[in-house]
């Protein structure tokens, strides 16, 4: 059993920002994302005896957060904010450029099965093997999904660009 309690404060400081971003990517709601991160650390604290090696704590926390998100969806579907709207509460680092809104919308339109591995790769920096372990997928399936996710993003952004060129809303 790894001594999570000894490293807990450090882990919170180091990992809560990226876990928050991952949560935000999953639920697209800042309040829910905050709750998810808090609940993730609380669950980690309660079940710290299941963590065998502190080195795997990061992937472990991502998995807990993902499970928490799935559990939340079982109970209720959190309100997803329209990506074209500014957040009600100012979020530090919130990109307000037109391209950012377009990208956000394209991301939102991605099916969960494509968005999840993409978030884990881009935010968590996990390899396809690690993502495969976290999502219970074969590495090749992860690669296929990453390929499709980016292709769909690019297609939608291209489409949006064409619509703008033709004066479509």
């Amino acid at each position: 059993m790894a001594a999570l309690s000894k490293h807990f404060d450090t882990l919170v400081g180091a990992l809560s920002p990226e876990l928050y971003r991952y949560a935000l990517g999953l639920c697209r709601n800042q309040d829910v994302a905050q709750d998810l991160v808090q609940e993730t650390f609380l669950r980690a604290w309660r079940s710290q005896q299941t963590l065998r090696d502190i080195k795997t704590a990061r992937a472990w926390l991502y998995t807990i957060l993902r499970n928490e998100h799935a559990r939340l969806y079982e109970r209720q579907r959190p309100e997803v904010r329209d990506p074209h709207l500014l957040p009600e509460v100012p979020v530090q680092g919130y990109d307000t450029r037109t391209e950012a809104f377009a990208l956000r919308r394209a991301l939102d339109q991605l099916d969960e099965q494509y968005r999840e591995p993409l978030l884990l790769q881009v935010i968590g920096g996990f390899s396809c093997k690690e993502i495969g372990r976290m999502l219970s997928l074969k590495p090749n399936t992860v690669l296929t999904r990453l390929f499709r996710a980016r292709k769909m993003l690019r297609d939608r952004l291209d489409e949006e660009g064409r619509e703008k060129q033709h004066g479509l809303p």
């Binding site: 800042q30 808090q38 530090q92 950012a100 990453l146 980016r150």
Partner: protein, 261 residues
């Protein structure tokens, strides 16, 4: 590597840098242009996803939550151990109470048997014999049937013990009279030995009630109990509980068929 493969790999991870990939990129203008667009899109994506910062209080709230959890965990553990101790205490008390009640119940039943014999000591002096018809008639009142030879029966009657009616028999033993009580509906959890200054015997639980066989000190009870078991059939089926030497002895003799005793 062809263009299709290059683009497939690039979309899996736009920042991968295998030599083959870079070689194709430097030799194919269209793919180099495609790669530039994809990397630009990737840069925007990474910037978009990695930009939001959590509220400053988030980390502190998490730490606070963990501290509360630690404290409540401690309090919970204290309460749990207190509750566990209490539960164990109650269980032990209940067990002791139950055990005491059972022992008390056994003692009262044994005492009732002795008192009944002493109160009706005159029956021990009955010269007998009671006729087989008389015995049949008494047994018939309880639906039981005499199917064998009980040996010399000095006395047979219906009697009342502990507010229940039963069969009171006095048989002849080696040391003197042997009293047998057949008490339908009476209950004993386990065999109860009977010992007094004068008498000794045993109360044996059966499915229909209890059988008490009591003789003078030194009397061998088992053969008489065997005779009783073999010679009387009860209507609703009964079985001796083979938990005592006597019951085990009867069981060994095969006297535990559903209709026997």
């Amino acid at each position: 590597m062809d263009c299709l493969e290059f683009r497939r790999l690039l979309l899996q991870d736009p920042y991968r840098a295998e030599p083959e990939l870079l070689q194709h990129e430097s030799g194919c203008a269209e793919c180099a242009h495609y790669a530039a667009r994809i990397r630009q899109q990737e840069a925007s994506l990474r910037s978009l996803l990695n930009a939001p910062a959590p509220p400053p209080e988030l980390a502190e709230n998490i730490r606070l939550g963990a501290r509360m959890e630690r404290r409540s965990g401690y309090v919970r553990r204290v309460w749990m151990s207190a509750a566990a101790s209490l539960l164990i205490g109650i269980s032990i008390s209940m067990f002791m109470l139950f055990d005491q009640q059972q022992a008390r119940g056994n003692m009262l039943l044994a005492r009732s048997v002795i008192h009944h014999i002493e109160d009706e000591a005159g029956h021990l002096r009955e010269p007998g014999p009671a006729s087989p018809d008389r015995v049949r008639a008494v047994l018939a009142r309880f639906g039981a049937e005499l199917v064998g030879d009980l040996g010399p029966v000095r006395f047979a009657a219906e009697c009342v013990m502990r507010k229940r009616t039963g069969v009171h028999l006095v048989l002849s033993g080696e040391q003197g009279p042997v009293t047998a009580f057949m008490m339908p509906g009476e209950h004993a959890d386990s065999p109860i030995p009977i010992d007094s200054t004068r008498f000794h015997g045993e109360i044996i639980p059966t499915e229909w009630g209890v059988l008490a066989v009591v003789g003078e000190r030194g009397e061998v009870i088992a053969p008489i109990a065997t005779r009783l078991a073999r010679s009387v059939h009860w209507p609703q089926g009964s079985r001796l509980s083979a938990q005592t030497p006597l019951a085990a002895h009867l069981a060994r003799l095969g006297i535990h068929s559903p209709r026997t005793l």
